[in-house]
């Protein structure tokens, strides 16, 4: 049986998905990147191969996320795509009529507007990480509450307190202030959820026409408190699709399939055996011009397979094929 592999290497999580020809998800993994993308990709491949039947053959690979180029050269990807396109493709696969996608991940959040099945507008947070998963993580651990229970606690609140959501620094001091005043934790968490949603809609959603059906995906979509706050603020029902946490990877797998069908090529996937190879990264400052670009490179065993960070083609590696 043939299947496609999708890998989404984000700042906080690395997700892998194996999808069959018909679009059904055979296996999905959500791992923490922990600042070590190379090791996490290897570990992910090792784990996912255990989850799938032996007769499955990978006939295409796509990568996405901020680590897409790194992952792409490591595994031999057929499609290396940005996460906005990947998320849009995956969402329209599950909910074909979708008109708005809200996506909140570890370090970034985005809104994607679709009309008649194609993306017509999008926005991504630029200057601030307020309202992303990392901040929720941080607050959950400060309060000693597992992140998985964080959202459910918000549902117990009857009287959310107002938290300043504009900036994480302000939000945190506001939360501490409310906690020292004696407000119950569920009300504070609910207040935080509402503040983050307010921030999201004011910044990312500014000037965008949010029409139903609205899909909410990304790691933070698991947080029921945020989902509820979105529904309250928008006054409409929000759908959290199954596999909401690995939608980027699903999109990458689908884009790989599309690419191979369009180009009539066969996959460049190097196989699951790469988990046994040694990868090493290094960096140096180029002294070719006053720009002093910081060049990062990755070695597979002893050969360089990728380089990044240059503002000119001097350090480009000619890709075969």
């Amino acid at each position: 049986m043939q299947a496609y592999l999708g890998i989404d290497v984000g700042s906080v999580s690395t997700n892998l998905v194996i999808q069959d020809q018909a679009g059904k998800i055979i296996a999905g993994l959500y791992l923490r990147t922990k600042g070590r993308p190379v090791e996490t990709i290897q570990a992910g491949l090792q784990q996912i191969v255990q989850l799938i039947p032996e007769q499955i053959q990978i006939c295409g690979v796509g990568t996405t996320g901020s680590g897409r180029y790194l992952a792409g050269v490591m595994v031999g990807a057929d499609a290396i795509k940005n996460e906005i396109t990947a998320h849009a493709v995956a969402a329209s696969h599950f909910i074909p009529q979708v008109q708005t996608i809200l996506e909140i991940g570890g370090q970034d959040s985005k809104i994607i507007i679709l009309r008649d099945g194609i993306v017509t507008d999008f926005a991504m947070n630029t200057v601030c990480a307020a309202g992303t998963g990392s901040f929720l993580d941080q607050q959950a651990s400060r309060l000693g509450i597992p992140i998985t229970e964080f959202g459910d606690l918000a549902l117990e609140s009857h009287n959310p307190v107002r938290i300043a959501g504009r900036c994480t620094v302000f939000a945190e001091s506001d939360m501490i202030h409310k906690q020292q005043m004696g407000h119950p934790i569920p009300d504070i968490i609910n207040g935080l959820c509402e503040a983050l949603v307010r921030n999201y809609l004011n910044n990312i959603g500014k000037g965008k026409e949010i029409l139903a059906p609205v899909v909410f995906q990304g790691g933070v979509a698991a947080n029921t408190g945020i989902k509820m706050a979105f529904e309250k603020a928008l006054g409409m029902e929000i759908t959290v699709p199954p596999h909401h946490d690995v939608m980027g990877a699903i999109g990458a797998a689908m884009l790989a399939k599309e690419e191979l069908i369009d180009t009539h090529k066969t996959t460049r996937f190097k196989g699951f055996s790469i988990t046994g190879l040694t990868y090493r990264t290094s960096s140096f400052d180029c002294n070719g011009c006053p720009n002093s670009c910081e060049i990062a490179q990755i070695y597979e065993e002893d050969s360089i397979i990728g380089r990044w960070g240059a503002r000119c083609p001097r350090w480009d590696i000619i890709q075969e094929g």
Binding site: S66, I84, T85, I118, V119, M124, T126, G207, P290, P313
Partner: protein, 373 residues
Amino acid sequence: MRKVTFPHMGESYRAFKMLLNDLGNEVILPPRPSLKTLNLGVQYTPEFACFPLKVLMGTYLETIEKGANILVTTGGVGPCRAGLYAELHKKILHDLGLSIEMIVFEPPRLYPFNFIRNVHKLNSGRLSIKAIVDRIKKGWRKLQALDNAEKLTHIIRPRELKKGTTTQKYRQVLEWIDNANTTSDIIEAEAAALEELHKIPQDLGRLVVKVGIVGEIYVLLEPTANLEIEETLGNLGVEVERSMFLTGWARDNTWKETVEGMTVKDAAHPYLPELIGGHGRDSIGNTVLYAKRKFDGIIQLAPFTCIPEIVARTILPAVSKDYNIPVLTFFLDEQTGKAGMNTRLEAFVDLMKRKKFKKQHQANIWLPSEATN
């Protein structure tokens, strides 16, 4: 000894160098803005000021280090603080104990005496008025040649068969124009340059989308300030048309090409009837004109904290909706990480290509004419 320098703006330095040399001045070439320029600029300017102030400050300090003592720059009218930057730069440089002279050109039509006085100051070779006029005309011609070559690369780069050929050839032909020092040589070098660029092997059947670039002049004209966005877009298969060139060539053409013969000011009028300083109104007007010319998308470039462009940005969603054209805005600052910009550009290009592809397939009758464009 008088040594003259000026701000770095794309390739325009080649024309200014020739003109100032012709007037009998020794010229210190402004280096291409680099990490060093930024570090110097950021150190000696207010933190909240916009990006152009910082880059220019860095450029001045670098050129002064090389011996420059006369800085030639432009002022400006209207409510944009950039018009006052020359005075601020002068103040900061004097505070640093650097004795430099600053020659500030205001718009010549509004301030003719300022123009004549400044030209006189730079006329070290004591040229006659007729000779000066000839030299200025020749400098202008060189500027046009440089702009024309750049404009052609914007059309060829997205269609080149081998990635990087256009950029490489462009570097080469720029030197030809640079070395031409008489009007006839400039015209000849320009023709040779355009011919050489036309020789680049192209794939004419490729699906190419067209993007109009609008925004604030400095970040539009200096590629290092916009992280070489035009080159990046070209490599993604996008033909770009910039709304602003120093010679204003594009603008004249934009007027003529529009069906209704609209000016940028007219086009912006329903959305913004006032001049708000900087290029805010131009950003809106040009977006309307590009939309009328059936472009696939608009990219707005603005320095972080630029008020005119912030105003334009808040109005652009309305234009985008009325004309059904996607608009993407980048606020640029000293941050040099290109990854974030690339992700957004890739997604924007995907958006436009998918939309165009769908449109072509819905109306197959339009395909032949689109393909010949």
